[in-house]
Subunit: 346 residues, 4 copies
Amino acid sequence: MQAARLHEYTDDMTEGLAIDNVNRPEVTGGSDVIVEVEGAGWCQTDNHIIEGMWTEYVPQDLPLTLGHENAGTVVETGDGVDIVSEGDPVICHPVQTCGTCRPCRLGETMYCENDAFNGLTTDGGFAEYLHTSERSVIPLPSDVEPIDIAPHADAGITAYHAVKKAAAELNPGDHAVVVGVGGLGHIGLQCLSAMSAARITAVDLKESALDLATGYGADHVVNPSEDDVRAEIDGITDGTGAAQVLDFVGEDVTTAYAPDITAAGGDHHIIGYGGHIHEPAQALVNGEFSFVGNIVGRYAELQELVALVEQGDVDLHTSRYDLGDVNTVAEKLEHGEIDGRAVITP
Amino acid sequence: MQAARLHEYTDDMTEGLAIDNVNRPEVTGGSDVIVEVEGAGWCQTDNHIIEGMWTEYVPQDLPLTLGHENAGTVVETGDGVDIVSEGDPVICHPVQTCGTCRPCRLGETMYCENDAFNGLTTDGGFAEYLHTSERSVIPLPSDVEPIDIAPHADAGITAYHAVKKAAAELNPGDHAVVVGVGGLGHIGLQCLSAMSAARITAVDLKESALDLATGYGADHVVNPSEDDVRAEIDGITDGTGAAQVLDFVGEDVTTAYAPDITAAGGDHHIIGYGGHIHEPAQALVNGEFSFVGNIVGRYAELQELVALVEQGDVDLHTSRYDLGDVNTVAEKLEHGEIDGRAVITP
Amino acid sequence: MQAARLHEYTDDMTEGLAIDNVNRPEVTGGSDVIVEVEGAGWCQTDNHIIEGMWTEYVPQDLPLTLGHENAGTVVETGDGVDIVSEGDPVICHPVQTCGTCRPCRLGETMYCENDAFNGLTTDGGFAEYLHTSERSVIPLPSDVEPIDIAPHADAGITAYHAVKKAAAELNPGDHAVVVGVGGLGHIGLQCLSAMSAARITAVDLKESALDLATGYGADHVVNPSEDDVRAEIDGITDGTGAAQVLDFVGEDVTTAYAPDITAAGGDHHIIGYGGHIHEPAQALVNGEFSFVGNIVGRYAELQELVALVEQGDVDLHTSRYDLGDVNTVAEKLEHGEIDGRAVITP
Amino acid sequence: MQAARLHEYTDDMTEGLAIDNVNRPEVTGGSDVIVEVEGAGWCQTDNHIIEGMWTEYVPQDLPLTLGHENAGTVVETGDGVDIVSEGDPVICHPVQTCGTCRPCRLGETMYCENDAFNGLTTDGGFAEYLHTSERSVIPLPSDVEPIDIAPHADAGITAYHAVKKAAAELNPGDHAVVVGVGGLGHIGLQCLSAMSAARITAVDLKESALDLATGYGADHVVNPSEDDVRAEIDGITDGTGAAQVLDFVGEDVTTAYAPDITAAGGDHHIIGYGGHIHEPAQALVNGEFSFVGNIVGRYAELQELVALVEQGDVDLHTSRYDLGDVNTVAEKLEHGEIDGRAVITP
Ligand SMILES: [Zn+2]
Ligand SMILES: [Zn+2]
Ligand SMILES: [Zn+2]
Ligand SMILES: [Zn+2]
Ligand SMILES: [Zn+2]
Ligand SMILES: [Zn+2]
Ligand SMILES: [Zn+2]
Ligand SMILES: [Zn+2]
Ligand SMILES: [Zn+2]
Ligand SMILES: [Zn+2]
């Protein structure tokens, strides 16, 4: 089968991946599931992996088939598999877990001590077939197409995971800020609208993104190229600040908003991760705010997001590309030229 | 009456405060309470105030009587005061609150929108008498001496407040790390022992502090001058990391422990605040840990801490000084020469 | 001024209250607030008070002016009052609290140890003027009329309070059941829609109530006179049961649904209170569900509900009556002939 | 091998079980684990099963080997088993779970949709060998003997599970009541002491149980045969009531304490289950307390309890009996003649 693989780290996105001919994966264990990939979302993280930005954090053997946002149809299952069978449409949680370590027992599957991450530490879904397990697939409702939902496997649950934490802290009358209404942010904004009654302000440099935000339930929008974000939030919140800030950008300039726009006792959620946090400890003490790290959502959260999608609470804006176009997609994303989420259709 | 007042910011602790003769405060409003100060704890924050380190964060008019950790005996009350009367021994929460703003309504008295902070934004307790209100005093149990409990008014509830948040996240079998077993840390360690069944590792550069920690319930101790903190925590926790880290130091070197010693999903609590946080956003994403800011505990938490003290769960190690010795105390603290907590006895 | 007062407990609603001439209340304490009542909601609880059903639970001196759901305009304030002044439109939380007991410090104002409850333990708002305090009034947004919002002072926050607890436990994909879509239930249903993404089933004997429920966001409706509630919920939830049940009826027949329709780990909230709970302890053990008591919401929750009303998230269906019509209203309510919420306009 | 089996429901405990010769269980699936039983706790629930009291709640085929509190040594494992191997000492969680249903994904293993319960719905451990799975065994620390820890597999985690919920709601200064200091209660009391700083009152009819309670950290004890429980709790808590009540008895007389001894906002936990709850809905509304159901603790909670045992925080008082003595044990328990927990040693 054909697979888009990384052979060498590079900053040149035009030649990041190669289309290789490799063996089709097969069932070898009782809980194995083989999925014919119909859609595989391309993600900013894929660019970061190509650049070698994850080598410091996880073990990685090259060549590696990238692609961690996968959905498709089950074509083969191990003999111990109960929850899906051949022909079932599924979305694939990117992490394959053991089920028996302490984190798995707690339902905190993202902390599994024996995990493999599709397209990051094991072969992913920029290929015709994906090798995964019963522990990582979720059957799709009948009216949801794999190709339309694929990016939710990572972009979606990452946004959902952070929003779920934020929503738990938000009361009616409180304010939330969504920084960055791009691939993740536009999902997060919709989840926040569905799951809380807080007032929402969206911050983005693009007017088109802010228009989208208004359509998805933002009560206020701020464009940092035109207005001072700190002053705007101060005005909107009557000096109190935002109880929850969801930073889908994570650059130095956005993490630096925290002490000025976050309410006392509030959280600045780090979801995007291009930059750094630089802050005096005293700022966190005086304002009693937190920088809250957010990893990909857990398996059960992907079930919850699928429920939101099924209910019509979350739209996903996508554009489709052939497997052979992966480097074009990477290059376009680098220059902000992808409209919505790019989905590879192997 | 005599009061130790700050007239000018300075880095020279030998001449920080002057002993002035000022008018004794009097009741002017219905909820006013005048307390004859018996004990007033001296705090690292007093040194920071003298250095001008708080001018950026709060409004401050000089001259100002410092002293925010006060306890004593009620000598006069406004006619609307119900909960105390003349002769009652009390501990004074450092923050005087309005009771009617939204944070006060929620019990989050530290976020009061109309507050005054003893010894920081209004005159404090390094003086014979303190002007405070019914909203800020807590009657003491009969067997607790004001002079012995005074530092709990800030040092105590700051430690308690952070520990309460940490304890809520700790299960038996989990690990917690207490960084710094000084004035706040030794209180925090005892609260943690009383309020959770987690295993505790104490980290300090002084062997005497580590001995104290062992006596107060630490299961392990680590001296960074002898052993590598990261490796030790890794070994003690079997590679998982500590679910909760309480950083009573807050220097660059201690905040930098976070990504290496904090378990996935865990918190690094910022309580001490001399230094900075410098961390790539990606570290918080990959490890899903948070930097959690911690301000002084709220009024109801001081009630809870008084209950712990009454039960004998929290010892406080103090040494006593005359009002005229304030600059000596400041200077000694700067050089780490104060044994336990210094209490001024005006 | 005129006031509708209870002189004697009776089961005959046609003669429950008398219209008396009494003195207009005046400011006597620094935090007093006198409100000219514009709207005062009539509540099932008023009927219960007339019947003497609350004498076992609270102290009550007759004659007593009833009316605990009040809104109007401030006409006089004590000299310590900061948050409102003459001419301000306000809604009145029914409980007047002390602000200094432990529950008040925690923000749990409904548990105040020194409280008075309008129209239940002290004179209420079925009168031209109401004596209350700064601790119990909330200024209204400019576009909200006192007469339209009055019933939220009790009916609204009681529903909101229970829904807030329920919403905190509900994830997307979970199911909630609202039993009884009357005065409280129709508010609770709207709050639930605004604050969670759960699927909602409404249960009521009236088709008109079920139609209303559908308009307010119910995904399913069940009429117990036509279908078996247990079987319907079982089918709708695929055998799992409802994670949260909000019982606005509280009769024997509805509390008995709990073991059969509540999911493992779920809650059956008791809000209505005409009947009893009769259940073997083993049922609660086997199904691990809880019967959760719900009192009127606290002050801060009324602020949150006012925010929901201001945002347009909660409609209130009312009909208006003169002060002289109180007994007619009581009698009509007894026979289920009140459409929406009756508001007395003194 | 020999197994103690139930052939027919009966109220006569002298002939409840028969010692039968049956086939030794063998590994048939990849995750199977066969344990040689060293200790199997006898539980009040075993008497209830013999009486047929569980037929209404779970499917049960006779003959059935009882015994759900098992520990021993692994003698055989399926080829997919990673976490234990032959020779490992283990404690067996009584529930065998699927690992892939929604509750299992959430870590709520007690709500598994495809579970089997040792000694209740599948053969248990009153036998020489037990057939279980990798999902249900926990390796023991080297210094813990299987025979000493066996009852924790049910009695222990049931007590722990309820206490964990209660401890999460308890602050220093709050009061908790433990009703019944028997097999479960004496474990619960120790867990509560280790996990919270609340003040504890123990209630029991036996003076020996109350003496034990004092040794395990109870601050007060009340014997209902001598003193009025309601009046005592009122006095001890200064009229506030107990924030958390742990009812390990669950008889009509103990569930009826709830409205009088539970603080506003508090919980009456149902753990024991002989009797009924009979309460007007209005009592739950007025006092805003809850009746909280409690099932057996989940797998991860048994890990936490094993940690408490390893730390020396929880003693277990046991007496040992041969497999042939099962009916003697049942009969003695019926008459309150078992001292501590009876452990069968097959
Ligand atoms: Zn991605
Ligand atoms: Zn795992
Ligand atoms: Zn201090
Ligand atoms: Zn305030
Ligand atoms: Zn830096
Ligand atoms: Zn009402
Ligand atoms: Zn109060
Ligand atoms: Zn009954
Ligand atoms: Zn048992
Ligand atoms: Zn399961």
